[in-house]
Amino acid sequence: MLLFSCPNCGPRNEGEFHYGGQAHVAYPTHPGDLSDREWAEYLFFRENTKGLFAERWVHSTGCRKWFNMVRDTVSYDIHAVYRMGEQPPTDLDPATTPANAPAQPLAPAQASNTSTSEGV
């Protein structure tokens, strides 16, 4: 089990949290203008980075707040934890900055991720 540092509650075991998928996915600025293709991209396509990945978690059985985390999807090392609306820390080695880190501030992501622990 992994040990996560909730920004509000401190270190707690992974079992207290739920996964929310890729971080920094902005809600479309002009939803009415989107083509079907663009809606598909927004709803169903997420980065699937092998390496450093910025993702969201919610502390379900604690403060129940969402936060962001940068985790290595190969080693599962946790490189950073930061609040919703914040950028990943800039002191991460630039060569290892997550591929999906936003170039500029984005509105907090709002799509609910459907990732579950169910088998297929």
């Binding site: 079992g15 809606w39 169903f44 396509f45 699937n48 092998k50 999807t73 990732s115 088998g119 297929v120």
Partner: protein, 406 residues
């Protein structure tokens, strides 16, 4: 203690050739799907100047790591059609491939533990029957008759309220399946090239013309991706995105036991799947780890929860010892159905997203994907499983709808 003798292998399985400069088609990934695709390309479409490129050893990915459950009792018409076709192929393949891979139609039960489960299960039995898939509803007493070691008391946390049952479902010896396909591929002239990692693609405009590998560049007219777990990594190299997320999924086996478990029992609700291997190990699977991951290992707490459920359902397992646990990387889609079809790159085709349940699909994946590669168009069975469905909204939402677990 061995319960069944494994069959002898043929004297010769396959060659280990060096890659040629060019092929008519290259299949990336030497798991079951890649092997089955190459087999049907050669057998049904006469394409024999082809290669399978595998970065590790033959069928060492998910093919070597799955819990081997085969069934076709999916809810939606599109899924029932492709998985039932697959099951029909499983029934004839041992003879066709001339290899006994111990396909054992011992039946699969999917347990129901809540009233919601019961309704959903009965609905699926009805849908299966309408689609010509063998399916029955069993009450708890009938469940007990088929699998006497199951605890059907109603004072446990998740009491058994009944089960769906597919008598033609079962298990097969996965390694032997891979070797059976590999041997036939080799016989038909297909080059199986191990330790050959695809590291990039060569394109002429939007058309793929070759692959870069750890063993040099190979020119080819067509590329088929069968790289479960790493599909999106390869797609990114080719310049497009897939609606895929990779997750670790794990399984475990006990030491050998006398035959105690005559069928296959699955429970989606408590997330445990159990069968007994031919040699006698209890084989168990669980759910995926919630997060994206490329580590071929799973979280310990997932096993812990799965074992708690298993011991409640099968009290006699309490004294069994876990011998080994391992993990694979499965590529999942948002609607829990695979993607088999064209890609945004010309002459490049994708077979992926089978998630935690693609072993059973191996023959049909191979047959339909080979058709798509050879003709440049989908087969009727894989047409609904195109990537466009995420754009058109024609999703095949098996997530939670059917027995979506291995």
């Amino acid at each position: 203690m061995s319960t069944e003798q494994l069959p002898e292998h043929p004297e010769f399985l396959w060659r280990n050739p060096d890659p040629k400069k060019s092929y008519d088609a290259v299949i990336v990934g030497g798991g079951g799907h890649g092997l089955a695709t190459a087999y049907f390309l050669a057998k049904n479409h006469g394409m024999t100047n082809i290669a399978i490129l595998e970065k590790g050893w033959l069928a060492g990915g998910n093919m070597a790591r799955n819990t081997t459950i085969i069934r076709s009792n999916y809810l939606w018409d599109e899924s029932a059609a492709i998985y039932e076709h697959s099951l029909k192929l499983w029934e004839i393949l041992p003879e066709e491939l001339d290899y006994d891979f111990l396909f054992s139609q011992r039946g699969v039960m999917n347990l129901a533990h809540t009233l919601g489960d019961v309704r959903e299960s009965m609905r699926r039995v009805g849908a299966n029957q309408l689609n010509g898939v063998d399916a029955e509803w069993l009450d708890p007493k009938q469940v007990k008759e088929l699998c006497p070691i199951l605890n059907i008391n109603d004072n446990i946390r998740y009491p058994v309220m009944g089960a769906t049952y597919q008598p033609r479902a079962g298990i097969a010896k996965h390694d032997h399946v891979a070797w059976a396909f590999a041997r036939k591929c080799d016989e038909l002239g297909v080059d199986i090239i191990q330790n050959c990692e695809v590291t990039g693609f060569i394109k002429d405009g939007n058309r793929v013309t070759g692959v870069k590998t750890s063993r040099g560049t190979i020119n080819t007219e067509k590329v088929g991706l069968c790289a479960a777990g790493h599909s999106s990594v390869l797609a990114e190299m080719a310049g497009f995105r897939l609606p895929i997320q990779s997750h670790p999924l794990q399984a475990l086996v006990s030491e050998l036991h006398e035959p105690v478990h005559p069928t296959v029992v699955m429970s989606n609700h408590v997330h445990v799947y159990v069968s007994q291997a031919h040699k006698g190990e209890l084989v168990m699977g669980a759910g995926v780890d919630s997060y994206n991951g490329y580590g071929q290992r799973g979280s310990f707490h997932v096993i812990e929860e799965q074992m708690a459920a298993a011991v409640e359902l099968f009290p006699i397992f309490a004294r069994a010892h876990v011998l080994r646990t391992w993990g694979g990387i499965v590529d999942t889609t948002m609607d829990a159905s695979p993607i088999v079809g064209l890609s945004p790159v010309e002459n490049m085709y994708v077979n992926c997203g089978w998630g935690t349940g693609g072993f059973k699909g191996t023959p049909a994946a191979g047959l339909t994907f080979a058709h798509t590669i050879a003709t440049g168009a989908p087969h009727t069975l894989n047409k609904p499983f195109s990537m466009e469905r995420f754009e058109t909204g024609a999703l095949i939402d098996e997530h939670g709808a059917a027995a979506v677990a291995h």
